[in-house]
Structure formats: C-alpha cells, structure tokens
C-alpha cells in the first residue's frame, strides 16, 4: 500500500537525532512489547509480513506521531484482537473473560532452548531464476492496496541485476499466508540519477532486493 511507512525520498522529516551510549530499551515497557511480540504465536495466518502490514495500516498521522515501540504495541494489540485471542473489551479494561482463540504458550524453557550459536536458515532450492547478474531490468509500476516490499521510489525505474540472492517467499501474497510463491530475489543496482534526477551524484547508487514478480526485462 502507498502508506506513510514507504518514506524513502520524502522531505521534511526533521534532523537525524543521535544519542550517545543509547540503552537497548529506553523504558521498561519497550522491552516488554518487544518480547511479547517475539513470544506470541497467533496462529497459522500470522507471519512477519502480516505484522508489518498491520503497522502500515495505522493512520498516517498516528504512525508518524508514535515512537517505534508504540507502533509495535499498536500492531500487537490489533493482531491480538483480529486473531480472536483477546477481545476489544479485555484490551480496554485488562480483565480476562472466558473463551477466546487458543494459542500455544512459549515457556521460558523453550526460549532458553532456542538460545544457541547462530546458524543461517537455508533457502528453498529448485526454483529457476528469471534473471542473471548483469541483466537490465525495470521495476514494475504497481500500486497495490495490500502489503508490498516494492517501495514507490523504485517503481518504474531501470536497474541492473547485481547478485542473485536465492529464493524467498513473495511478501505480497505471503502476507496472510495465502501463497508463498517462492521465487528468486536479486540485489538490483539503480544509479542515483535514475532515481532522483540530474541533481543526484553521477557516481552514487542504490541497491535494493527485488523479487522476480517485481521485475520485467528492460
């Protein structure tokens, strides 16, 4: 969707404010929201794309006025209600009523067991790529009202396939776990002037990961 979250290239968002020796969480509640998001398993139709899409659908003024973890909280509340785990009444007064969708509990032992040496997940194989490194491509001009990972500033622009990054699920159809549509994703290089016009540096480039379904041959 053409939401305010898709902000690459927008002006007027103010100065970039940095903080020395920033804590991981500024307030205790931020850590609780982060951890709640990690442990709640809201059933088979909920995945990270759906989490992102829920936050993208926040009213734009609300999105921009909220801090990062406030958006996580708003998204979490919306997902809990939408999945039937918690009712709006329970959320409003904090008192549990009987009933509601069941969900497996992630106990502390399970979290402890999942602590371990980092291992990269292995992507699916056996899906043929549509493009090769060096191919000239153009990003589709689409304006879906649903979830997409193709930002506006890339649509309709020409670039070159830099690397094949392997196979991933397609966010636009995987968002509600409808269809994973596994396909190749490429790192695609766009000249800064192709994206932003002659005022941009003639040397600079933008790299973004694009799925086969976002691309046509140039």
């Amino acid at each position: 969707m053409n939401g305010v979250h898709d902000m690459g290239g927008m002006h007027g968002m103010g100065p970039i404010e940095r903080e020395q020796d920033e804590p991981v969480f500024h307030e205790e509640w931020e850590g609780r929201v982060y951890a709640l998001t990690r442990v709640l398993r809201l059933g088979p139709k909920w995945n990270v794309d759906m989490s992102r899409y829920t936050m993208e659908q926040l009213p734009p003024a609300r999105y921009l006025a909220s801090s990062y973890y406030e958006r996580w909280l708003l998204g979490l509340e919306a997902r809990l209600v939408a999945s039937g785990v918690v009712s709006a009444e329970e959320l409003a007064d904090g008192r549990a009523r009987p009933g509601g969708a069941k969900m497996p509990l992630m106990a502390v032992d399970e979290v402890r067991a999942s602590l371990g040496p980092w291992r990269a997940p292995h992507p699916e194989v056996g899906v043929p790529p549509k493009f090769n490194a060096g191919d000239r491509v153009v990003a589709c001009k689409i304006n879906p009202v649903g979830h997409t990972r193709l930002p506006r500033y890339i649509r309709g622009r020409q670039g070159v396939i830099e690397h094949d990054l392997g196979v991933q699920r397609f966010p636009d159809t995987w968002v509600a776990c409808q269809d994973p549509k596994p396909q190749h994703v490429y790192s695609v290089r766009f000249a800064a002037q192709e994206l932003w016009g002659p005022d941009a540096s003639p040397r600079d480039a933008l790299y973004i990961d694009l799925w086969d379904d976002y691309l046509d041959p140039a």
Binding site: P15, G94, W118
Partner: protein
C-alpha cells in the same frame, strides 16, 4: 508513580499511558495463560546483555587480519559468521547476512526505508536514529548530506552505495582498517570497530 511518569514526553506521546497499557496487556495475557513472564525476562536480558555490536566487531576484525576469511565473508557471509558460534535466539525471522566492503573508492551505508530491518543477529537491536523517519526518508535521496551530518565528508570521487534492506537479507558493512593499527591482534582491532561503522555512517579510526 503516575505523576512522575507524566513528566516524560516523547514524540508527542505520553509514555506513562503507554507503560500502563503495556502492563495491562501483559497481565491480561498472563491471566489468560498465553504468556510466561519469565520468557519475556529472558528475551529482554539476552538483548540487553549478550547480543550486540561486539559480535560484528569480531567478524570485521578477523576480516582485517585473515585474507581467506575476508574472501569467505564477502562471498558467503553466512558461512563466515557461523564460524563464531555467536549466541542468538533462534527462529524469529529467516534472515541471512550479506557483507559489503568499504574501500578507498566505494563507501556503503545501510537503511531499511519501509520498516527497520537490521542485522540484529550480529549488531543487536538497532539504535533509535536508524529507525527514525528522518534517517529512513533521507539517506536514500541525500546520502552525502546524511553522512556529513554523521561527521563523514566523503570526496566526490568516492562512490556511495546505499543498501535498502527490504527482504530477508541483512547487510553488514565491512569498514576499512584504519592506518596506525599495523601489528594489532584481532582482539585489539575488534575493540575499535564501532556499530556506526558497520552500518556505514562512520569510519573506524585508530585511537
């Protein structure tokens, strides 16, 4: 408690109300038997005390002293990072790592314009500026201006590559090794590699 908390304001929102809402939500989920508060404690503790940019710093330092490792890092960052056995919490996202190399002629910088994707498994949780609308909107259209704001004034003949991480790939910038560190061992080198240099908004400098 409520009076004190009302003193804090952040981006136009009353934090005390948010804190109360989160507390209410957590206790509701505990009452419904859906959440184990000790699981939350362990996740928070792990990110506050264990996972952080010191992981990435070790990777970068090794790439400065071991050419074979550097080659592996730049061609298969996942295999390279797996060698360190960094403790993380498994199973959040199917994210893989790509390392991009800074040289005297090319400078790379990472962003996620659509949300805030970040190589959490080797840098920990992202700083607030990385997640801000100001950074996400601007670094793609004005990377030189943004880097100048971070104190990095790059000459015109240096190519800037901006990496918008919108898929399951997470980008690690491998900064240049600074002059004056000849003969340093890996551990000492790792101690000067900063988080910002691995996002690409700073260079590493020798003290």
């Amino acid at each position: 408690m409520k009076t004190d908390a009302h003193e804090h304001h952040h981006q136009g929102t009353d934090l005390s109300d948010v804190a109360l809402r989160v507390r209410t939500l957590e206790s509701l989920l505990i009452d419904k038997g859906l959440v184990d508060p000790k699981a939350l404690d362990l996740i928070i503790e792990t990110y506050e005390t264990m996972i952080g940019p010191h992981y990435g710093a070790k990777v970068v330092a090794r790439s400065w002293v071991d050419p074979q490792f550097r080659e592996l890092l730049l061609t298969d960052a996942n295999a390279a990072v797996e060698q360190f056995n960094f403790t993380t919490i498994a199973g959040a996202l199917p994210t893989r790592i790509v390392a991009v190399e800074n040289t005297p002629k090319v400078h790379n910088v990472v962003v996620c314009t659509l949300c805030s994707c970040y190589p959490t498994q080797i840098l920990g949780l992202p700083p607030t500026w990385y997640k801000s609308a100001a950074y996400r909107s601007r670094v793609v259209i004005d990377p030189r201006g943004v880097l100048k704001g971070f104190g990095l004034d790059l000459p015109d003949d240096v190519e800037i590559g901006v990496w918008d991480s919108n898929s399951d790939m997470r980008y690690l910038v491998v900064p240049e090794r600074p002059a004056g560190t000849e003969g340093w061992n890996e551990e000492r080198l790792a101690s000067i590699v900063t988080r910002d240099s691995m996002v690409g908004v700073a260079k590493v400098t020798a003290p």
